[in-house]
Amino acid sequence: MTESITNVMPDTATEERAARSHLARRLLRNGAALFAFIVLGLIVLAAILAPLLTPQDPNFANIQSLLSAPSAEHPLGTDGAGRDVLARLLYGTRYSLAAALLGTAIAAILGVVGGLIAGYYGRWFASVSSWVISLIMALPGIVVLLAARAVLGPSLWMAMAVFGVLLAPAFFRLVYTAVVNVRGELFVDAARVSGVGDFSIIGRHILSVVRAPIIIQFAFVMGIAIAIQAGLDFLGLGDTSVPTWGNMLNDAFARMYKNPVLLVWPSVAIALTSVALALFANALRDELERSGRVRVRRRRVRGTAPAPAVVLPADVVVHPETTADSREKLLVVDSLVVGYDQPDGSLKQVVNGVSLTVRQGEVHGLIGESGSGKTQTAWSILRLLPEGGRIVGGSVVFGGTDLASLSDTEMRKVRGRRISYIPQEPMSNLDPSFTIGSQLVEPMRIALGISSADAKKRALELLARVGIPNPERTYAAYPHEVSGGMAQRVLIAGAVSCEPDLVIADEPTTALDVTVQAEILDLLRGLQKELGVSILIVTHNFGVVADLCDRVSVMRDGLIVETGPVRAIFADPQHPYTKSLFDAILEDGAARGHLEHAADRHAPAGGAAS
């Protein structure tokens, strides 16, 4: 069933290779990335092939021809010292790139290694390195570079090495954060228990996660390094004997009024390289982020969409009512179909035609395993389906109106006031930045139109009613100050605060401990009796159904397979699926018993070896 595997799955090795080449192909198709590739390629080629592209020596000063115009011998002319501009530009590419690469490589090595160690081992190394990194970041870079020049002399390589150290925090912080996140993953613990050494774990499980961000950061930092290196030389702080773009700028600046064209070449080279690196990094990041997300083609065509396929199960088992139920039908869901828009424009159906009735004052259980569509059904009654999901067929008639056809504004008036909701995760459904009191009072003021003072009085009463020991303190507290069980009580208080007719509870006790669950079930039962409200409770736990519900519907694959009074279904389940679920229940099973025999049968296997 769910555990079976279809044999038509593609071979994974080829799939993975395909995914990787897919990324390369997508990058090439991305215009910005393609431009960046071409520019960077040309620049690197120019640097490598400099001696072949020009016969001139970049440092040979010919005082006979200062600032000469372009000629066959000097295609771009000569500079203020009579040196060939083209040769200086080409060789300058070499030195500028190499210097930037040196700085970036030092930053990357220091930052990545430090980040990996600090992130993986933590403890004192993490504290010390974080201090050092903060200190480096607090230092003004230019001042440090000036100081380094004063001490170490005007060396291009020294300056870039110092600069590399200054840029190390950019890598450290990135890697550290990523590693701290991965280190908590269970597969890292599992590898440790498997006896895998720390270096193998870092190389195999951790580095693979942080690889892509490092590449992106490398391109960004290299762009910065090129600009800073040029800036230092331009200010005359570099080594003037080395032909770099910055030195060319410096020289050209001094002759700006005589030959302004000299400024153009190094400026263009610096700009092109920096822009290409930034574009490459951006494109790579965009493509990596996009691969994780589904691109939904926006094609909202409700009218022309194909008619939803309502599967009408022939074998749905309906148990007869034990007594004639004269209570009014509050909610009637009829042939409900819910689907999600897929990236290729098709529709994935998750609810295939569900029909159910909830009467006034009834507790109806909707039970099923994960993926059965029980929560989707509940959400579509509330019209709170996540992005891309919508009701594609059927009706949800609540108190005489079809909720499926209401506008969003009209639906907002129903939600909270007449139908309320108790979620599965109490903590994530309370806003951490507001007090519990304000989150209870606001909806009441809007829905019931009462004053703040009245709303507060009512909120305190409700908190006391749901069993919160000290209502005033909880009223003033923030969500993180109360336990999960208390938070769920608060949400229950909120759900009944506007006197709704129907409460939809989505696995309200699943996230809670079993003793707290028992208390919450008691509370729900008490409130239901007291207020006469109807409850639709979504759950996967037969114990919860047995405890609370009057009627129950069993769901599978987006369909209800069996429905009826709780006692009838528990006493005599008819549908094979319901029967299989009952068979899987452990509660009434026998205990395993004593070990004695097993221990004798298996004398310690490894005992002889050790």
């Binding site: 994974t12 498997s194 679920l581």
Partner: protein, 286 residues
Amino acid sequence: MTEPLLVVEDLHVDYPVKGWRRKPFKALNGVSLDILPGECVGLVGESGSGKTTLGRAVLGLAPVTGGSIRFKGAEIGTLSRRERRRLSEEIQVVFQDPYSSLNPSLTIEQSLTEPLRVKKVSAADASRRVRTLLDQVGLPSNAAGRLPREFSGGQRQRIAIARALALSPQLIVCDEPVSALDLSTQARVLDLFKDIQEATGVAYLFVSHDLAVVRHLSHRVAVMYHGEIVEYGPGDKVTSDPEHPYTQRLLLAAPVPDPALQEQRRADRRRLLDAQNEMALQSGAL
């Protein structure tokens, strides 16, 4: 009488709390427990009771601050990382979350051969072993080349069990291995645990919050509450007729999947809580 495989004695685990001179959080407060070869000991408790910490301490993943953990007579509570690695052949783990316990970018074969490669098993032998393991946990051998995301939660848990079995350990710490699974999948995975134990004689420390799950699989059951073991004894006794007031509350809090019996249990629970409150009041008055 067989010698115990694992003996935990008066174990303390403290976690430091952030902030200057704050008292550390006592996750385990003097816990003692023993496991025989081939035995399944269930460890049951609610969130924050320390049951997961005890499992992690046995695995060497939690800082032991006091007491001892002895495996086949040798102290393992305070080993260095290097010494600890040698124990991988003896003690293994199956975690709760089948989605984060497998590296998403490694194929099943790569994940399963990882422990074998550490032990310098040849590639061919490791590959053969992977087929045997997959067969043992009821997965087709063509699963080896696929990535974790192609499998359901129950299948991933089978893969995690296969990885734990790779080195034929004598003890597997199972940390809530079925609590993320659906009812019917849960029953099948529990049966797999049982079958494997009967076939290989491996011992389990089976951590769970669910008394029914623990009862199904465990020879003996320990109940944890606030970092201490409050009751330890035969599985049948502890899970049907417990002595400690907390275990009694725990047992009656779990709803029975039968409307009539549950009504009965609800009344029993109410009576028990009233009686325990009465006792607490009286002892407070003394």
